[in-house]
Amino acid sequence: MSMIDVKVAAVEQVTPLVKHFTFVKADGSTLPPFSGGSHVVISMDIGGRVHRNPYSLMGSPLATDAYHISVRKQEHSRGGSVFMHEHVSVGMPMKITYPVNLFALAKKAHKHILIAGGIGITPFMSQIADLERLGADYELHYAFRSAEHGAFVAQLEKICGRRLHCYIDDQGKRLDLETLLASQPLGTHVYVCGPGSMVTAVLETARNLGWPERHIHNEQFLSPPVGEPFNIQLAKSNIEIEVPADMSMLEAIEAAGVEADYLCRGGVCGRCELDVLESDGAILHNDHFLTDTEKVSCKKIMPCVSRAKGKRLLIDL
């Protein structure tokens, strides 16, 4: 996979839990343009082990002198967000992938309803730049815990004006999804990014109100869950690998020196899909990509987030 060499140009504490990072190209040239909703995958060398985490690009896609991301320090981090918060400083060289968009705006929509919860605001930061440039009709609904946790509110007020609606939990202001989604004109698309409970609530409310499936969009990158260690056998490479508790199967494959395809590393895009040739236990499917039928069949696994139980898992790799 081709990577871009960047260096950290600025680090800023935005809220008690969120840091904002600015990257510029290591050789001083401009970065590639991208589309609203895109993310990059950042490689981190944590004690000799390579971690790769996806982060949404913020800011205007047309401003290619720098890329911006924000990282929330996760309580149950496997190391990625803690590393970004505690070890990444100005001037540090890093490697990122080219932008990929798995959360693109529907260009033919008549209206866009953007719903963000907490750090889920980040993909919308680039989308609103596109929507403003195109003169599109949109509303941004942004929910967060308390005033001090409302990242980028001042900036959003400036860009979005009356299109911004904030819901601050400890001030008792709640987003009424039912009312919001019941009152939209035909041709409206809804986008949600935030905690799992919020994504589920938006998807369910929209579906119950009869919104077409194609008008409902969400992005929810999963962190590879920590689990029990297990062993896998690679048929083509003819090796056996142990996947430790705190490593994903994809990371263990990479650490063993075997090249595997990947894009989002968050169970969304489907690129890392592997064929399971034999298995004697359960596959713990944690991805959002495979259909329920595929998950039950146990013929495929997404190694970026999924794990296995049992002695034997023979993979076509």
Binding site: M1, S2, F34, V100, A104, L263
Partner: protein
Amino acid sequence: MVCTFKQETFREDYTYSNSNEAIKRFPFPFPEDKYMYSVNIEPHVKGKEGSVCEFAFDVDEHYVSECLDKKITLQQDPGRYQALPHMMDAQWDFLEMTMDALSQDYPQHFSLKKNGAVWTWENKPLGIKDTFTFGDSSTLEMEPFYYMGSQVQGDFVLLDQRDETLYADAGVVTSQADWSLAFNAGMSWREWHGPVPLATELGVMDRALKYLLNLQYSSPVRRLNWTMTINPRLDTSPENYPYWGGDRNTVNAENVGDLVHLRVELQTLFRLPRSNAIMFSIRCYLISLKDIATYPRWAKRLHRVQKTMHPDLIEYKGMTKFHPLVVDWLAKFDDGASLDVGTQPE
């Protein structure tokens, strides 16, 4: 590297021909003695010096005459250009990608100067020089996709990605192998591939779609497709069928080597950065059977491929009428010796 462009025609008197160099670099599509559909997609990486894949967009000795033929077709039938309104970002992506690539790869023919958003583009072979503001359509005399689509050899379709599929929502198509942009515009991946025999049953189309939905910026891909055309005609469109369809009745044992051309499409797909659309480019290369036969290896291979072709494919590619003549004509070059896998001429 091309220095001189030929003056030739792709219609009426058909003065098109390939030089020895052009024959040698022809993208022969058959690595093996049998042909069947597959997801034959590979990374569009820089090929060998002088090959058609050396650069992102190949400019060859036919450049000037092909652009002229495209202009004639577009003037006669403006419907060969279509662009739905939501594709404007993709149009500018296309303009930037082609201008950047041509000016970098062929600096003796093309130049691009960027002064902020004010760009000056010069195309020396076609005698074009314009200054415009990137992103502002009012500063170009035509839409950006039309403007650059007319200055690069081949056909271009811009695919919008939504609802887990791809829609052909813009195109400039003047050298197509019997398909219609006006008919396919706005259609989804499964709709426009509906008529392809066998491939759907093989699962080829679904797998290819899955692959393309994840196509990454900076990592374009390519594949070759092929058919046969009577006379070196670029515009074999359904719209103009009356002008070329009947040519298939003129093939006989004496003229088959001159009239029948192998038509190879170098298809490339690029993710466009600002629009997240995909640019699908279909570049057509034509070569007569006689010119193919200047390399015995190619003649043998082509004979074996055609002899074992599935009848459904012969029909789908519109070759039924003259196909036996092609096989018979090629037979005399085939001594039955085994050939290594590969598409090289010798």
